[in-house]
Subunit: 321 residues, 2 copies
Amino acid sequence: MTTATFTNLVQSDLRRVEDLMRAQAAGHHPDLIAALEHLISAGGKRLRPTLTLLVGKMLGAEDEPLITLAAAVELLHTATLVHDDLIDGSLLRRGIPTLNASWSPAATVLTGDFMFARSADMAAQVGSIRVMRLFAGTLAIIVEGELAQMFDGPGFADRDAYYKRIYAKTASMFILATEGAAALAGVPEEMIQQARCFGHDLGIAYQIVDDILDFTGEQVKLGKPVGSDLRHGLITMPTLCYLEAHPDDADLQTVIAGGVLGNDAVEGLIERIRSSDAIAVAAGEARRFARSALDCLERLPVSEERMALRELANYIVERDF
Amino acid sequence: MTTATFTNLVQSDLRRVEDLMRAQAAGHHPDLIAALEHLISAGGKRLRPTLTLLVGKMLGAEDEPLITLAAAVELLHTATLVHDDLIDGSLLRRGIPTLNASWSPAATVLTGDFMFARSADMAAQVGSIRVMRLFAGTLAIIVEGELAQMFDGPGFADRDAYYKRIYAKTASMFILATEGAAALAGVPEEMIQQARCFGHDLGIAYQIVDDILDFTGEQVKLGKPVGSDLRHGLITMPTLCYLEAHPDDADLQTVIAGGVLGNDAVEGLIERIRSSDAIAVAAGEARRFARSALDCLERLPVSEERMALRELANYIVERDF
């Protein structure tokens, strides 16, 4: 399945979103314009602005503030990736060089800050205090999640902590996209909460699938080695599921204890997780959240946007395992 | 002159501002709470929240949103210092270790981001779209100014560029403090513009004086070597004034050309600037902006807060040269 089916309805709006993102650097230093262009062209699936646009249109939000919010959400997402890649020292993202691969840490920090500032300004332009507070709160949740991960250190194997982490890392931004769009539409609070629930559960499902793909994907497609989370001592859903079935795997216990495995031992552990039931169990967990997301969606008005959102939810859990 | 005279009116409010700043880390990770506590205790003169409080009270703003705005302004200021010190590799600020002196770059970037997020949330809590846009726009101006300085590189000797840089670095935040407070008070647009003008001119005066003190201060008080800007190739007002009177100083021309001077040559150049008329000429420039700030202030209502603001403006230009 391609992403085309569910983006059809918002194709021209998505182009306006990208134009608006690019316009944030207009009149600024040529190097800054080039950096933003590089980051925007690197693209991605634009899931977050697509969610914003579809939820907003489904609930009757006006075009212009909706497009501004969608651009704010995607620029905020891009800004967090810029600081993330710097912090992790990542040189590639989706096979394309990261900003920190060619720029100094100082310029990379400031470019991320500039994008935070421009996305905050767009969120303010939308003209809703509620959206603005949601936006600022989301940034705080994301950053605090990264700090918690840093403080917890590698090898932290705990399901609650995992869910908290992927809420902060991914679901919070999906919530900003869906709750923000609903708030903008000015629908009753109950509907805003359904939109929020849809965004939350979809975001959790999306991140679990991402964490599965880190084990089952091909290196070429991933743009990084298979099992890279585990190689960095990060315990995600597939590893948690594997741990529950094999609590006495000595290599995994070493990782959990914060130890470092030799290369052969890491490869062996990744292979055991890949070929175990843990992948299917984790996929079941992702589908459970996707179904729960669809339950929330069902309580929102029937529309072609709702059909597209249903497709989007299915696409998210049916990506190549 | 101590700061006490003009802070008398807002002493208890300033304590509430600091409490609110500290509360931003409540419930978060102990290390984050400790970091924020360290940064807030490091203190400073609290000029920006004092400006916010005095302007707001002078114009009849309500206490609670005013205190929230003052805390947002000071936390934003502190956050920019955290990223600045990281970028400059500074290990001390006001004689106290910076965050990056003991924390990893990653933790420092994220702590700064967290403070941006919390200050943005406080700005949103104030409940005014105008204040929120002013806040986001200020962050963009500050960051873009730092990027421009980085792109321009050392040795850039241009009066317009200097004014643009200190507007971005300092005056923009003073404007946020004064225009934001006036906007919150809901006074007519003309008065808001006078408050903005007051903040702008006062901010420019403040930064020129800071740049003079970098030459005339004592190392112990500065917490860094005398002439540290020039040592980093940064051309500020005293150097610009010296350059106008001594266009053929060979050492200065070397700095402007981006060259690096030996230690003796730097010390000699700093000493020539210190003992030249350039200091008095630069001080005259600062006083000119302070007078212009007072002209704007005169157009705002007579009140004890206005008297305190006049004292504050005088204090800023009469600090030890």
